[in-house]
């Protein structure tokens, strides 16, 4: 199923106002309904290498798999959707690639990356994330953070030590508890959500969420939702106007209409009459 007519995708990435190079990496495969965002870390340009490997390996491998397999199909043995298995396996593979590169080449030692991946299919989205790159959703007038950071601050909030407001003032920002490529194995967090026509999804690196409040991000999407490209540029500009301390990347996806997967001939024929 070609999703390029169903999803409107806009993205923008920028090094910010302080850093000399951009260690964020973004990629999308519109017809397969796949978007990937990674925020690399590590000395010299190793961060760029890690995030670049993450987006390249994942899009290449998943594009190939999605040619041959329908993501909504359920495996009769495990009872799990093909999408889940694909994401798990390919993220594991990507992790291994980055980990091995960092082990074998000295200049890449210790590199790693955060990751957020969204795969759209059958009126649903499956989201996998590692670290503090986020997915938000705008539905109607409601703007919410969907993914929960793997960070020290989030753990402290969960443990009741900090409120969200106090976390803003913490000195321990930017400490993630999970990352891709730093250990031989990684556990991504994967969830599936229903989508609705009109929804806008935002994937972003912490360069946006640390510099611009959720309220202002939501307001921007509400005001500029009609023009996704402009909205993406405006978000990056707001992060830079507020200091632009970090690389900032955003991917926006709008659901234009329903996109049920064909579950058989009958539904395919019905689909023609929609």
């Amino acid at each position: 199923m070609d999703l390029s007519q169903v999803l409107e995708i806009a993205s923008h990435t920028d090094a910010g106002m302080v850093r000399s190079h951009n260690e964020d990496s973004i990629a999308s495969v519109a017809d397969k309904g796949l978007v990937v965002l990674a925020d690399g870390m590590g000395g010299y340009n190793a961060g760029e290498v890690a995030s670049g490997m993450a987006t390249t390996v994942l899009t290449t491998e998943l594009r190939q798999l999605l040619e041959d397999h329908a993501p909504h199909e359920v495996d009769p043995q495990s009872g799990q959707k093909a999408a889940l298995k694909m994401l798990q396996q390919q993220i594991a593979k990507t992790n291994t690639s980055i980990y091995q590169a960092s082990q074998s080449q000295r200049q890449y030692a210790g590199m790693g990356t955060t990751l957020v991946v969204a795969l759209f299919y059958d009126n649903k989205v499956m989201v996998a994330h590692i670290g503090d790159s986020r997915l938000y959703r705008m539905r109607g007038d409601e703007f919410n953070q969907v993914s929960k950071d793997h960070s020290l601050l989030q753990e402290q909030i969960d443990a009741g030590m900090l409120t969200k407001e106090q976390a803003e003032r913490s000195s321990n920002k930017n400490l993630v508890t999970r990352a891709l490529g730093i250990d031989p194995a990684v556990e991504p967090e994967i969830h599936e959500y229903d989508t609705r026509p009109g929804d806008i999804y935002l994937l972003c690196s912490d360069g946006l969420s640390d510099m611009v409040s959720d309220e202002d991000i939501g307001m921007t999407l509400k005001a500029l939702g009609a023009n996704l490209n402009l909205a993406a540029q405006q978000l990056v500009q707001m992060a830079n106007d507020n200091g632009g301390r970090d690389n900032v990347s955003v991917i926006l996806i709008r659901i234009l209409r329903e996109y049920p997967a064909g579950h058989g001939l009958a539904s395919k024929i019905l689909g023609w009459f929609r």
Partner: protein
């Protein structure tokens, strides 16, 4: 490293570095900070330090723990907070120098790996009396963080401080609401009719800008349609949008 300055009646008694994950305060001698005064409970309070953040927790003391004059059970310590126990005062000073504090906030992302953590040299079991649940990952010491590339602070020019932006207003010159004024207080203000013609005015450190959002026609400023990119607004510019004239001006 953050520190506490113990004083009584304005007299400085002692300086204590918060070098441990848990620093206990109380009257009994086994406390890290012993205050031998009857107004202080045997185990009065504890300060839990996680990397650069410190949290104060009252351990059910008889006379309570006060921070800046307010009684607290649990408190996220901020630089220059004054903790009071009876007649004693403990001033909390966070480690960072005034200039370095900001830069440290924005060090590059680092990873804390629970699996590879070294045990802290002195591990006190979390107090049974409701000590804050320290996430396991938080026990990591600085040397287990990987990929530390603290941006060389001096090398970068400090980010431009947002300049104070002048207040600006819009005044409707035609249409049903002619004469009505609107102050541009939000970072973004949209104008026009959704589906027909919409433009947005953004408030930036450099000033105010108008950008075309949707519709076949671009907004007209002082008689000329604007280009696709953001257009800077000047005092008393006239904007024409969806058949309505609006004046932009700075508040005197």
């Amino acid at each position: 490293m953050a520190k506490l300055i113990l004083s009584m009646d304005g007299l400085v008694l002692k300086e204590i570095l918060l070098s441990k994950e848990r620093t206990t305060i109380g009257r009994k001698p086994h406390n890290d900070i012993q205050i031998d005064n009857l107004a202080v409970s045997g185990e009065h309070a504890v300060i839990v330090t996680i990397l650069a953040d410190s949290f104060l927790e009252d351990l059910g003391s008889t006379n309570g723990t006060f921070v800046n004059g307010k009684t607290v059970k649990k408190h996220f310590l901020q630089n220059n907070d004054v903790i009071e126990l009876g007649k004693y005062k403990l001033k909390y000073m966070s480690e960072a120098l005034p200039g370095a504090a900001k830069a440290a906030d924005f060090e590059k992302t680092m990873v804390l790996r629970p699996g590879a953590m070294r045990k802290p040299p002195e591990t006190h079991p979390p107090a049974a009396a409701g000590g804050p649940a320290v996430p396991s990952a938080a026990k990591a010491h600085a040397d287990t963080q990987i990929g530390i590339t603290a941006a060389s602070v001096g090398a970068h020019a400090p980010a431009p401080a947002p300049a104070p932006v002048r207040h600006a207003m819009l005044k409707l010159l035609s249409g049903g609401n002619a004469g009505k004024e609107l102050e541009l207080t939000k970072p973004l203000t949209t104008l026009g009719k959704p589906g027909v013609q919409v433009a947005v005015i953004t408030r930036r450190p450099q000033g105010f800008f108008i950008t075309h959002v949707e519709g076949a026609n671009k907004p007209i400023v002082n008689g000329k349609p604007i280009e696709l990119q953001a257009h800077a607004l000047n005092d008393h510019d006239i904007i024409e949008l969806a058949g309505v004239n609006v004046e932009f001006f700075f508040k005197p």
